[in-house]
């Protein structure tokens, strides 16, 4: 009410020049259609960029750029702001010369090793589905302590798109796969890293895994694997092989570099968990969030994202008192499986300090853990799969900071 009184006083103090002096755009002729055949965001939005976290990686071709979640709405990530993770740089590949090969680790697993051109793949029955993609290392910097200031850096290895492509199962059927014996699939990229990952056959069989060329209505972006990538819903991003050139059927997992030396999770007993694929139930408040300063007391909307690699988000609870009490947030539809879900909750700021936290529950009953609950089992050296509840602290001066609570 105090803030409002000030507002009103200000208003009564005079008429708003932004209203009284008609702006140029009300009194002139604007720009023509098709000024850009492919349009761009407003010049006023330049602050929202994907960015690197200084010091996180040593070379920019094997690195990460984070999506600016603090400024995004809804569930679709603009493709220009999709997070990046490359191991040996990205390419813009001539699609007319790109090929997909399907073979077996031996002849008995697959009857017909086959080569497909993009022309051919794009003729096959396709499906379009919205899914999140999250790097297994997302929030990895925060396993031990608070390390970075904003949600862009804590959670920005996360994006969500509508993907279009052919179910891998269709292709394997065409090639005469022996689904009884071939329990694993190796997917391999055409880039320098020749990125390879073992893909669960169960997800191929139930039609979830896509050989995708479309992303948010257009072709994949070069940074995201143009012209072909694998989509493995709910599974960490490294399995979504970019520049996909080859699929091999096998009867054992492949222990590739990025599932043996990296993307393995160190447990307290010194063993590494291997083939940890699923991204567990998780959520984060994107606004108000670290590095932001609230302008005024009064009504605010708490907004954020929730997701689960196991299926649909069922509920998101929000707390503003450090986790003493929680209130269910509003979920924005459509709530889709293995897709981001936007949640919103009301908050009236009285000028006192507060904490913002969110906790997601998925349709399998998994509940997002606190740091305490997570570390009790996995300690804090796993690097990957940190799905703990994120806490933001609001100070009296309106500034919001990244914190971890008892």
């Amino acid at each position: 009410a105090g803030a409002m009184a000030t507002e009103r006083a200000l208003a009564l103090a005079g008429d708003d020049p932004a209203i009284m002096n008609l702006p140029a755009h009300s009194k002139g002729l604007g720009q023509p259609v098709a000024a850009s055949g492919y349009g761009q965001p407003s010049e006023w939005e330049k602050n929202l960029q994907r960015r690197q976290s200084p010091g996180l990686t040593r070379v920019p071709q094997s690195s990460v750029s984070f999506a600016p979640l603090q400024g995004l709405f809804g569930i679709i990530t603009p493709s220009g702001l999709h997070f990046e993770r490359h191991h040996q740089g990205w390419w813009d590949i001539d699609p007319s010369r790109h090929r997909l090969m399907i073979n077996g680790s031996d002849d008995s697993l697959l009857k017909r090793p086959t080569v497909f051109s993009m022309d051919e793949l794009m003729r096959l029955p396709s499906t379009s589905r919205m899914h999140f993609i999250e790097c297994g290392a997302n929030t990895g910097m925060e396993w031990g302590n608070v390390a970075v200031p904003t949600v862009q850096y804590t959670h920005g290895m996360l994006s969500c798109s509508e993907f279009t492509g052919v179910p891998l199962r269709t292709l394997l059927e065409m090639c005469g796969a022996d689904f009884k014996r071939a329990k694993f699939v190796l997917a391999e990229g055409a880039d320098g890293s020749g990125m390879t990952r073992t893909i669960p056959m169960s997800m191929v069989l139930d039609g979830q895994v896509l050989v995708a060329y479309g992303q948010n209505g257009e072709m994949l972006r070069p940074e995201n694997g143009y012209p072909l990538r694998l989509v493995v819903p709910g599974v960490q991003g490294v399995s979504w092989i970019k520049y996909l050139r080859r699929i091999e059927l096998g009867d054992m997992p492949y222990a590739t570099k990025d599932e043996s030396i990296h993307y393995v999770d160190l447990l307290p007993d010194g063993t590494h968990r291997q083939y940890t694929s699923i991204q567990e139930v998780k959520s984060v408040i994107t606004s108000p969030s670290g590095g932001q300063v609230l302008l005024e007391k009064g009504f605010h909307t708490i907004t954020g994202l929730a997701w689960s690699g196991r299926g649909k988000v069922k509920r998101v609870d929000v707390s503003v008192d450090g986790g003493r009490n929680w209130t269910p947030a509003r979920l924005e539809g459509p709530v889709l499986s293995k897709c981001l879900t936007r949640f919103n909750a009301d908050f009236v700021w009285d000028g006192k300090p507060a904490f913002f936290q969110s906790r997601a529950v998925d349709e399998t009953g998994q509940i997002q853990p606190t740091y305490g609950e997570l570390r009790k089992v996995r300690a804090s050296r796993s690097i990957y799969h940190n799905n703990a509840i994120q806490s933001w602290a609001l100070a009296e001066n309106g500034e919001v900071g990244n914190v971890q609570l008892s």
Binding site: P149, E173, I261
Partner: protein
């Protein structure tokens, strides 16, 4: 029969049989059971030459560099080689970085990766013998094979049995989608659904220290110019 038949008649005109030469050109993966490993051999000494010429600039002469990536060798012991578990991965071991040799459990992984991706700026340029040699050199850096050793497709299984962390991996978890790996059905971590009076005290255990305030640049320039908030001016104290 593998190359004889055409694609399924369900989708006429789509796909064509891969030729044996084409499959050979692209099917380069090497599995943990060494299926896919080409014949060949290379000595530690030959490997040292490859290493100094094509690898050391990034990884350091002894695989110790962390300028480019985590170090490749270091942190393993003779005891680890016998047991197949690396002690320095245990909590409190005071090991500054987790090196490649501390983690790798399957020798195929190293061979396959170097063969497909290294040198980083010229991947797939090494001959099979060069990959054997440089792999031997790395193993020697970790004291896993002696200096006069020659690694080959015939003795690689024996060397696998000396890898320090060969028993260091587990699939006993619920994070693989499917039952192909055994694993576990029940996730290991579960949160609480408490809604009211869930805890008494709230203490801030960790926060960004003041000196790191500007470590990610000026945050005022990293958020939108309108909305409920502005980016904090991190060029000044809070």
């Amino acid at each position: 029969p593998a190359f004889a038949a055409g694609p399924a008649e369900k989708f006429p005109g789509i796909g064509r049989a891969a030729t044996p030469a084409e499959v050979k050109a692209w099917d380069i993966d090497v599995r943990p059971d060494f299926k896919g490993l080409p014949r060949g051999q290379g000595s530690v000494r030959q490997g040292e030459m490859v290493w100094e010429a094509q690898c050391a600039s990034c990884h350091g002469s002894f695989g110790e560099s962390s300028d480019i990536f985590t170090p490749i060798a270091g942190g393993t012991s003779a005891e680890d080689m016998r047991a197949g578990r690396v002690d320095s991965l245990l909590p409190g071991a005071n090991q500054p970085q987790r090196t490649t040799l501390m983690k790798v459990a399957t020798l195929s992984t190293l061979w396959d990766y170097i063969n497909r991706a290294m040198p980083w700026n010229a991947p797939k340029s090494l001959s099979a013998d060069e990959v054997y040699a440089v792999t031997a050199y790395i193993l020697n850096l970790g004291n896993i094979v002696p200096a006069e050793f020659t690694l080959s497709d015939t003795n690689i299984r024996e060397v696998q049995e000396r890898l320090p962390n060969r028993k260091g991996m587990t699939s006993a978890h619920a994070m693989w989608p499917g039952r192909e790996l055994g694993g576990q059905a029940r996730p290991d971590v579960q949160g609480s659904s408490c809604l009211r009076d869930c805890k008494k005290d709230v203490t801030v255990k960790s926060f960004l220290p003041d000196y790191a305030r500007n470590a990610h640049g000026q945050l005022a320039e990293q958020t939108r110019l309108v909305g409920a908030s502005r980016g904090a001016d991190t060029s000044r104290p809070p």
